[in-house]
Point group: C2
Chain length 437, copies 2
């Protein structure tokens, strides 16, 4: 078998920055054909509701449903799927769900609380935190159907207090994924429709006779789903549009090179566009990881995907120091960052932008993907510069609370009136002045 | 003077829901001409940087700058503007800034903290909160230039810990607004460029030789600015695209009707598309507010705008009860909600969706617009169903922290491997299995 042609860069090379930028570049523009198809699908669903959803589902998923009733699953359907799992799978799913729930409950306790304070003159200020009423969760069908994604999207919504969690999952050729339905059963999903694509997004955003209109739509999907989410943004909230998955590993050379190589594989096996990068100041260690890649690739069922990903988008980078590795990581703002090093906290402290930080040799990214507890829905493509992991806060919103006392109105009214007059807004000023003593 | 033709609805009318929906409807679609102009402007700025920004600024703002240096203000320029204000204006601005800062510091203490917990086997989980590196604040020029908006956008970023706050504000015909520059001076803005429109948004999103690339762009603007923000979303974060401003007042009939009428005016005077709605179970009181509107309209400098807004989009609604008023408010999810009633907390408790809740007769919305402390950048057009006031949390993001112990890896690895095999992801499974004892 030929060796994996993953490039090795040196940060000391004069053209290193350009090499890195070329590797990071990713074209996420949407095809005009997809845009126009999505426009038509959204218009059809808005105009003809359930009828359009059934028609489009029959067409794209190659099934023959007569009505939305056939595309609606009951709690009993979900329970049947759950009961049908092997003991090992059922226990693993429940253990993962329980840990994810526990983590998000801790998160909710930290940042999901209403708060207020009262000033000396009796004026009260604060913020009230409330859950969204209804949330839609998109779950891809077919080969990309991941039960772990159901847990990671539904559990934070449930912990946030959302009453109605509506899941949509297409069933191409009528094939249902029992692990996905079992995950919905234990994650607190209210209703499942076996629909997908832009038609499912449109139905959730605008509502039909059968599908309730939701307030926010989350979850990954193909290019049609991503474009549909972009288009309904404003009508409903959406989560980030995810790009290809990425891992960046900062290694000090103390971890078994086989572990690091396999962690790079675990990202690369997702998809040919996935990105796996190693940063390490020890050139000999980098060479050991490269050798391990070539040794272990032969044992991987998804070797073709891994090879394409590592050769097309991966890199092994020899840095001047661990500090420089942290600096480069901050410019990349990776989705997953493994700090595979002794005393990882000293390096984590220097990290400003990353979706999730996996600290120490024992913390493989795959533990976080399934069951460590934190969410696996993370900002991709450098958006960790300005966005966060999916969390309970994505399923809650805040209302400012302002209760000004009579005395407070007298103080604040003078300030407000002065500023309002300065902005030429007389009604604003007068509304404040009327409340002066 | 003719009376203001604001409609009065009764919730008992059979067609009430339709009447209300018609009033709430608002077409926010973007003109194709604007879309194409924005495409060209973004492409020009990406291709030619500062040169394009100077050219476009000269063209749209009718000025004659030779270089970006002429479009860059120093801290000394800002201080000069601040020193030139009247004592009353300077003190009002400082008092407002101080209260806004205090409120957002309280907010930061509530929900801006990193947190973590350690499990029995030594595994540590948590979330690290960090500020964005660089933020861009768009401030409209000309007649819609509001110093209060500078405070409301820049202060939360400053409190959140953002190091570089870059403000852009166009100066049509070269006219600078001293109140706006003075507000930038006290709000912690790092640099001001006197540029605006889609060209300013593009410069902030992609960076030029003079304008630093930012991580997020916030602040209101015209249709070109809104479209440009939509287009650069993903490259940078953006705040919500704001629709017309709205006020909803729930009154129990105990507040002076003149106060309530003026509060309706204070929203209506913003713009002909602004929306002012009153909900009240007391038909006689509604009639008194209507009479007050007709009495007070004659004294308003912006009477034409107020009249157009109230007649085109306003409504006075007689409800069956205060409870029904709260229910209707929840379906509208207003930007500003005044509960002008005795014991307002009993009604505020029933409110699930609102940008800000102004409680009691003394809490006019205008106090919140300027100086009560909470942010005046709020979700419009029903988006309070799923989004929140601008806050420190918009200028921070979170990174998950996961440090699994050797023992933890042994427990979690088995769960992760079972689930990974179920999803057909062998590298994920093996990466976990390698760390088993």
């Amino acid at each position: 078998m030929t060796s994996v042609n993953i490039p090795v860069y040196q940060t000391t090379a004069p053209d290193f920055n350009q090499q890195l930028q070329t590797r990071l570049a990713f074209d996420d523009s949407t095809d005009a054909g997809i845009q126009s198809a999505v426009t038509d699908i959204i218009a059809a669903v808005r105009a003809r509701g359930d009828d359009a959803v059934v028609e489009l589902t029959n067409k794209f998923d190659r099934i023959h449903a007569q009505s939305m009733a056939e595309l609606t699953l009951t709690q009993a359907d979900l329970k049947t799927a759950f009961d049908g799992l092997s003991d090992a799978q059922r226990q693993a799913l429940q253990a993962a769900a329980s840990r994810v729930k526990q983590y998000h409950e801790a998160q909710n306790a930290e940042c999901g609380k209403s708060w207020q304070y009262t000033e000396a003159d009796g004026t009260m200020l604060g913020q009230k935190v409330t859950p969204l009423d209804r949330v839609g969760i998109y779950v891809p069908g077919g080969k990309a159907a991941y039960p772990s994604s159901v847990l990671m999207n539904a559990i934070p919504a449930h912990v946030a207090g959302v009453e109605h969690i509506i899941m949509v999952v297409p069933t191409p050729d009528g094939v249902r994924n029992p692990l996905v339905l079992a995950a919905a059963y234990i994650a607190g999903v209210s209703t499942v429709f076996t629909i997908g694509g832009a038609q499912a997004v449109a139905a959730l955003a605008y509502g039909t006779a059968s599908v309730p209109r939701v307030d926010k739509i989350v979850g990954p999907g193909n290019a049609f789903v991503a474009e549909a989410k972009r288009r309904v943004f404003g009508q409903v909230g959406i989560d980030m549009i995810a790009g290809p998955s990425e891992i960046l590993i900062i290694a000090d050379g103390t971890t078994d090179p086989d572990w690091v190589a396999m962690d790079l594989f675990s990202q690369a096996e997702h998809d040919e566009l996935a990105q796996s990068i190693l940063l390490c100041p020890d050139a000999d260690y980098v060479e050991k990881v490269r050798a391990s890649i070539n040794k272990q690739i032969e044992t991987m069922p998804r070797a073709d995907v891994i090879r394409a990903s590592l050769e097309g988008r991966g890199a092994l980078i020899v840095t001047r120091s661990m500090d420089e590795a942290c600096d480069i990581s901050n410019t990349i703002a990776p989705e997953h960052l493994e700090i595979s090093a002794l005393n990882p906290a000293q390096w984590a402290d220097k990290i400003r932008h990353a979706g999730a930080i996996f600290m120490g040799a024992y913390t493989s990214e795959s533990l976080g993907d399934y069951c460590a507890g934190p969410n696996h829905v993370l900002p991709t493509s450098g958006t960790a510069r300005f966005s966060s992991p999916l969390g309970v806060y994505d399923f809650q919103k805040r209302s400012s609370l302002i209760h000004v006392s009579e005395q407070g109105a007298n103080t604040l009214g003078k300030i407000a009136a002065t500023l309002a007059h300065g902005e030429g807004l007389t009604a604003h000023a007068r509304s404040a002045e009327m409340r002066l003593k």
